[in-house]
């Protein structure tokens, strides 16, 4: 992929298109880079907030007995931690990356729908202020888990559940608008010569993610709307008393929920597929199969939802179908892992921070994949279901998966965003502390889960005490380390070596053809891709 572009020629007559001054620049901006920046900062703030809640959870679980919080507040913490991390930290971070990088990667001047872009961002602070404010309401905030199973979340919910439903609606609308914007940008604004099969994988995975979002976020909206109607308008979708069925809730929720977990991982697949080749100095192995594998994973995600419900009493044939379908996901996922490993094979590797996070991503995500495969085996799942083994599993796919993918992307593209190199020593320190802390926090959870500790409990028997203490220490370490990341980013913005247009010698792609930091307007004349 090569491109001929002309960015400097425009500098003369384009100065009046520069950013507005003051606060209004951020409120009214339609610039994809500004909006991307806001998404990234917002998601980092949410990451710290959700992380603080995780610290409360781990502090309470540090030792058996109730020390710091009471069970009802503990339940609010686990619920809010989940909701904030999923909808506030991971998803907006990926949208932020998409905003910044997709136009730069496909040679577009901006996103296709810039005003909608602004709106979809500003919905998020509104949604999350409302959701977090429920914690201060009488009766407390959502305490029914991030999966909010009925009837605990309807008939038995605290009053604040209505605010929770409204907040979910707002973030759903925001995600859907973001996804439509991404699809429109990718399908319509590619530079001449940028055919679909020439697109960087990050663009591909985001295109597929956007379709997943468009398909399932409305189902979530429908799900919470039914809850709202059950609570306030006397319907009985999920209440057995009126002829409804609480299990129906789980089917509707997981029809959204399973694709949702891929929404949180596919963009990271794409980012890592850009970073590993850059630092192995060797082209990505099996580009085409990567695209097809991503599409297969997305397709399969629609027919496996009931594997979250193996214990609700599904007939044998249903159980077998969902078990086989779920096991099948291991095939395309395996192809991806093998492709990444082959990309590294016989490369000329260096291990800067983005590469460290990417390699850890591949290895630790694969461990999460293995435990996922174990969970897919229905009879064994009867023992794993709703224990800490599940908690270990999804934290292995989400922390070193989604979060490490985001860190890798941030370090990889920080020079492009800020025009400065980040501090490599601190970056490596951030990686190693995160790596050790994360494994120490989540690996022992496999053990306590297998030994029989259910999830979402504030207190436990002494037989689980040792590993819980280790977990908590690891979690505190991981949590504290993220403040270092904040410091690294601020330092990188304010000082640091000036970055070249292409600071990584093995990197490929249009984004490296514009200067660092990327000018406020780029690719106003589309580049020619050969």
């Amino acid at each position: 992929m090569s491109a001929v572009i002309d960015t400097h020629g425009h500098a003369g007559h384009d100065h009046h298109h520069g950013p507005a001054k003051g606060l209004m620049r951020w409120v009214l901006t339609t610039n994809h880079k500004d909006i991307g920046t806001m998404y990234l900062w917002f998601s980092f703030a949410m990451f710290l907030l959700g992380g603080t809640m995780a610290m409360v959870i781990r502090a309470e679980l540090f030792q058996p007995g109730l020390q710091i919080v009471q069970p009802e507040f503990f339940n609010q913490m686990t619920t809010m931690h989940g909701l904030i991390m999923v909808f506030g930290a991971v998803m907006p971070a990926f949208v932020g990356l998409a905003n910044w990088m997709i136009p730069l990667m496909i040679g577009a001047p901006d996103m296709a729908l810039p005003r909608m872009n602004n709106f979809s961002f500003w919905l998020l602070p509104a949604a999350f202020s409302m959701m977090v404010s429920t914690l201060f309401m009488e009766g407390g905030g959502p305490n029914f888990g991030w999966t909010f199973y009925a009837p605990l979340s309807t008939t038995y919910a605290p009053e604040s559940v209505t605010f929770f439903i409204f907040a979910v609606h707002l973030m759903g609308i925001s995600s859907i608008m973001g996804a439509i914007n991404v699809v429109a940008t990718i399908l319509n604004l590619r530079a001449p010569g940028m055919t679909l099969m020439k697109m960087p994988l990050f663009v591909w995975t985001w295109l597929i993610t956007a379709f997943l979002l468009i398909a399932v976020m409305p189902v979530l909206a429908g799900c919470v709307t039914m809850m709202l109607m059950d609570i306030h308008f006397g319907t009985s979708f999920f209440s057995a008393a009126g002829g409804g069925d609480p299990v129906l809730f789980q089917h509707v929720f997981w029809f959204f929920g399973h694709p949702e977990v891929y929404i949180m991982i596919l963009p990271a697949f794409g980012a890592v597929s850009a970073i590993i080749p850059a630092f192995a100095r060797k082209p990505l192995f099996g580009y085409t199969s990567m695209v097809y594998a991503t599409a297969s994973i997305a397709f399969l995600s629609f027919i496996v939802w009931a594997h979250h419900m193996f214990t609700v009493g599904i007939p044998l044939t249903g159980e077998l179908f969902f078990m086989y379908a779920t096991m099948l996901i291991a095939v395309p996922t395996g192809v991806k892992v093998f492709n990444w490993a082959s990309t590294m094979w016989q490369g000329s590797m260096t291990f800067e921070t983005p590469m460290l996070f990417s390699v850890a991503f591949v290895i630790l995500f694969t461990i999460g994949g293995f435990s996922g495969l174990m969970l897919a085996i229905a009879p064994a799942d009867f023992q794993y279901h709703d224990t800490y083994f599940v908690v270990a599993h999804f934290h292995y796919v989400l922390v070193p998966g989604a979060i490490f993918g985001i860190f890798a992307s941030a370090y990889y593209w920080l020079p492009k965003w800020t025009g400065h190199m980040y501090d490599e020593t601190l970056g490596k320190l951030h990686f190693w502390m995160s790596f050790v802390g994360m494994n120490m926090a989540f690996f022992p959870m496999h053990f306590v889960g297998l030994a029989g500790m259910p999830r979402r409990i504030p207190d436990y028997n002494m037989m689980f005490a040792n590993f819980n203490m280790v977990s908590s220490i690891g979690a505190f370490m991981f949590g504290a380390t993220q403040l270092l990341f904040l410091f690294i980013v601020i330092k990188c913005i304010r000082s640091g070596q000036p970055a070249a247009a292409k600071p990584w010698d093995g990197a490929e792609g249009l984004e490296w053809t514009v200067p660092s930091p990327a000018p406020y307007h780029t690719f106003q004349t589309p580049p020619e891709v050969k």
Binding site: I176, A215, M217, L220, M226, G242, P315
Partner: protein, 183 residues
């Protein structure tokens, strides 16, 4: 201009998908009900069964067990007259449940049936059941409520017993009972 036009078309199409998927969320409700009744998921039974001509299979006997459970805030006394009966597939059998409202206010209740094992649910037909309607009981009133059922001749051979469980819910708050004249 061509390009912005196609963007508009694309956005309209994607928005239609969004609306359709929102509708699909609600469509899952009837789809699920159909699936449940077809495969007996969740032990759900169908509504009133039109009794067709089904010969009695006297060579086979199936134990039918009755359970009566109150939802947590339900104070009625609620129980079957017998714990279980043995029936021949195809034969029509009646069982009576007793309900009693011990409170000093009229109350409305709804009984929800469920059958275990769930794969037998599709073969359990109720021709008459108190669960088809809501029950209104005056203070202190006691009634006997019949259920008449047929176990299908096609019940899988490995099912030798099945359980018919009712859960009784207090729905007075959502369906206030009609005051009885002359009480």
């Amino acid at each position: 201009m061509n390009e912005s036009l196609s963007t508009r078309r694309l956005v309209i199409r994607l928005s239609l998908v969004v609306v359709a998927m929102f509708g699909f969320g609600f469509a899952l409700v009837p789809i699920y009900d159909v699936m449940c009744q077809a495969f007996g998921i969740n032990g759900k039974t169908a509504g009133a069964y039109e009794a067709g001509e089904q010969g009695v299979d006297a060579s086979r006997q199936v134990r039918v067990q009755f359970l009566a459970t109150n939802a947590a805030d339900m104070v009625w006394e609620f129980r079957p007259m017998a714990d279980e009966v043995a029936v021949h597939p195809g034969d029509s059998t009646q069982m009576v449940f007793v309900a009693h409202n011990p409170t000093d206010r009229p109350m409305t209740a709804q009984a929800i049936p469920s059958v275990a094992p769930s794969k037998a649910a599709a073969y359990f037909h109720k021709t008459e059941c108190f669960c088809f309607t809501q029950q209104v009981l005056q203070p202190g009133e006691r009634i006997e409520m019949p259920v008449r059922f047929i176990v299908d001749r096609d019940l899988p051979a490995d099912v030798r017993h099945l359980t018919l469980a009712y859960t009784l819910f207090d729905i007075t708050a959502s369906k206030p009972p009609v005051a009885q004249v002359g009480q």
